[in-house]
């Protein structure tokens, strides 16, 4: 057990910092606000963000653990961690749209045929924007209950049904879409994965506004949508294994960023209490200290899990991170509102700090639901890690 990284890893960090110092666009440095953007009609993925993702890719800094043709530099797992923590501490996002590089590309590389694997570089570089068709009105936590039907006719599928909470579909070219190809099989076994071009006739997209008023995700309706058979990823009726894989890709790298964001929120609480003259309030101080302890222990857990992972062992620690950081984030915003006091719910911007924390509080609701709700996470921990019997 030791704190220090090796000299090669520190050299890697120095290279990264030199690159970031030279290339990071100014919009990134000024733009990130831990309490979320209050703007009403912000562009979902602005041009500077697209350019930045391409720059990262071209210099081998998009997914550094991948080879150069996939936007990386074949770095080690430790170096990947250094990469993620450096970006997190500088509040630099890699991309404005995570599904393509974080979920679609790794899944295509693992499960796709040659032609599909060839789509991975543009997904990682962001040249192609992807969305993921998973949730449906009747398939939320029970994802395997999805009902969007794809019937196979010789060389094509005909898709009918509805997806919901589909992020980025309004700007995406392609959808990684989970469909039911055999309703007679048990529900986990009749699911397939299709690549569907979003501009295919028969697809109707209706944006949904978030709780904060912003447009972000959408409902997607499929009516007799024709999808070529070669757009099937993996085996027919073999889609469930890929859903499991893609969620794993989503979670494995997220803890550094989510813990970093929690730490930044805690720092925001300290500054808020100082600014509003509450820095001597013993109750506020103790509560903030508790968040510091929570965030720092979660960071330690993340590193500890990473050490197991780097040695090829399982890392149960990481299964806790999504639930723990999202729940902690929500509670931290509550504390922010408590510190702001009677102005917490005011959105009239003539009052300093008003609305900012309640806005972040609302935003934080998404994190304990999306990507597997906290309750589902607890089920998974109880059954897969602790070995308790299924209920």
């Amino acid at each position: 057990m030791q704190l220090a990284w090796g000299p090669e890893d520190e050299a890697f960090r120095a290279d990264l910092i030199a690159f970031l110092d030279e290339h990071t666009p100014p919009e990134v440095l000024g733009g990130f606000d831990f309490s979320g953007d209050l703007g009403d009609d912000v562009e979902l993925v602005p041009q500077w963000s697209r350019d930045w993702q391409a720059t990262l890719f071209d210099h081998g800094w998009m997914i550094p653990g991948y080879p150069p043709e996939l936007g990386g530099r074949n770095c080690t797992p430790v170096q990947t961690l250094i990469y993620l923590e450096t970006l997190s501490s500088r509040r630099i996002p890699r991309s404005g749209h995570f599904p393509g590089y974080a979920i679609v590309a790794p899944s295509l590389l693992e499960f796709g045929n040659d032609e599909q694997r060839a789509m991975a570089p543009s997904a990682i570089r962001g040249d192609t924007i992807w969305c993921i068709g998973m949730s449906e009105p009747n398939a939320g936590s029970d994802l395997a209950g999805l009902q969007t039907r794809a019937e196979l006719f010789d060389d094509h599928f005909v898709v009918n049904g509805q997806k919901v909470w589909t992020s980025y579909v309004t700007i995406a070219q392609k959808c990684f879409c989970y469909v039911r190809t055999d309703p007679t099989l048990p529900k986990h076994k009749g699911i397939s994965l299709l690549i569907i071009d979003v501009d295919t006739p028969g697809i109707d997209i209706r944006p949904l506004r978030h709780i904060n008023g912003q447009a972000g995700f959408a409902e997607v309706f499929f009516t007799d949508v024709i999808v070529p058979r070669e757009n099937l990823v993996g085996e027919l009726n073999g889609g469930w294994a890929i859903t499991q894989g893609s969620l794993a890709h989503e979670r494995a790298g997220l803890w550094v960023e989510s813990v970093g964001r929690l730490e930044q929120t805690v720092q925001g609480l300290v500054e808020l209490a100082q600014k509003l003259g509450r820095a001597d309030d013993p109750i506020i101080r103790r509560k903030i200290a508790q968040f510091h302890e929570l965030a720092s222990s979660l960071r330690a857990m993340g590193y500890k899990g990473f050490s197991s992972f780097a040695q090829g062992s399982s890392a149960p620690e990481h299964s806790y991170m999504k639930m723990a950081t999202s729940e902690a984030g929500k509670a931290a915003y509550e504390l922010g509102m408590e510190i702001v006091g009677p102005l917490a719910a005011v959105t009239d911007d003539t009052f300093a700090d008003s609305g900012r924390w309640s806005h972040g509080f609302f935003m934080s609701f998404a994190n304990t639901i999306a990507g597997g709700s906290s309750e589902i996470q607890r089920n998974i921990i109880a059954q897969r890690i602790l070995g308790l019997p299924r209920s």
Partner: protein, 315 residues
């Protein structure tokens, strides 16, 4: 940042695990309630590991997690604190904080040869326990696995030596993570017992561990345990590296361990139901230790207030 254990650390942990499993079963902790002298058979083995007290904090904490797991009676923790303060690994010892309301008692004073007395301004005087025997009074607590004493230090004429402030700060941080390591071990014992019970105990014709209410409780308990375990190991590494965040990391480890222990002992008792409330079930041996540990070297709230000072009052 590497949390993986070296081969030597793996060996140390395995050795400690087997040692306490063999030499400190629940029956010994139970006998210790009535007859404190039974600690001697365990101490014969634990005393071989006294030099860990002056070694790397990471090694010491791995070992302490196992003594905590077994709720081991005896002066191992006290001597570890004493040894790292004085560098004396020839004698058994303990430490006494004079005029310190957060540390009113002296651990295991009737089982050690030396007591290092520490004044609030960080001066130390070490005495033979025998020389202050008449000033020590046993204090009963809810935890029968430790023995604590009150020391009347009034008009005690000793030759105090001031400690180097940096060295004293390093030692203080190390004591916090040391206690946190033992507490985390005890919390892990209660967690393991509760998880096992949830898998075995049947109601409504099925294991109670199949019910979501119990599953979610255990998931939250295991998160608290994972957090405390990682916080302790991280803090121990900051001690060994003399890292800049050592002090806040050690306070955080102590607070995380205290919170984990409290959550796990409450929910663990709840999961055990009626049987866990009985004298004959072993659960209470560990509930007692975990409850009392929170007050050792500062309560959770006290450590949180130190964290707040470091966040707010240091530029």
């Amino acid at each position: 940042m590497d949390f993986s254990l070296t081969d030597d650390q793996q060996l140390l942990r395995d050795t400690a695990t087997k040692l306490v499993e063999r030499e400190c079963p629940p029956s010994l902790v139970r006998e210790h309630m009535e007859d404190p002298s039974v600690y001697a058979s365990l101490w014969e083995h634990l005393s071989d590991f006294v030099p860990l007290g002056a070694g790397p904090a990471t090694d010491l904490c791995l070992f302490l997690e196992q003594t905590g797991y077994a709720a081991a009676p005896g002066p191992f923790l006290a001597t570890a604190l004493y040894t790292s303060l004085t560098g004396d690994d020839e004698h058994t010892g303990t430490v006494a904080f004079l005029d310190d309301p957060m540390n009113p008692f002296v651990l295991e004073a009737d089982r050690v040869e030396r007591i290092a007395m520490i004044t609030p301004d960080a001066s130390v005087a070490t005495v033979d326990t025998a020389s202050v025997e008449d000033r020590l009074r046993f204090v009963s607590t809810i935890d029968y696995s430790r023995r604590v004493f009150h020391l009347s230090a009034a008009e005690l004429d000793l030759d105090f030596t001031p400690l180097d402030p940096d060295a004293f700060a390093a030692w203080t941080d190390r004591t916090n993570v040391s206690v946190a390591a033992e507490t985390t071990g005890t919390a892990r014992r209660i967690f393991d017992m509760s998880l096992e019970y949830a898998k075995e105990r049947k109601q409504f014709d099925r294991p109670i561990g199949s019910f979501q209410a119990i599953q979610h409780k255990l998931a939250d308990m295991s998160l608290a345990l994972q957090r405390a375990t990682a916080a302790v190991q991280y803090a121990a590494m900051t001690c060994d590296a003399a890292a800049g965040d050592r002090t806040i990391a050690c306070h955080s480890a102590k607070a995380a361990a205290g919170e984990a222990a409290r959550r796990i002992l409450k929910d663990g008792a709840q999961i055990h139901g009626g049987i866990g409330y009985t004298w004959e079930h072993d659960l209470h041996l560990y509930l007692r230790r975990a409850t009392a540990d929170e007050d050792l070297l500062g309560t959770t709230s006290w450590h949180l207030d130190r964290i707040a000072s470091l966040l707010f009052d240091v530029a």
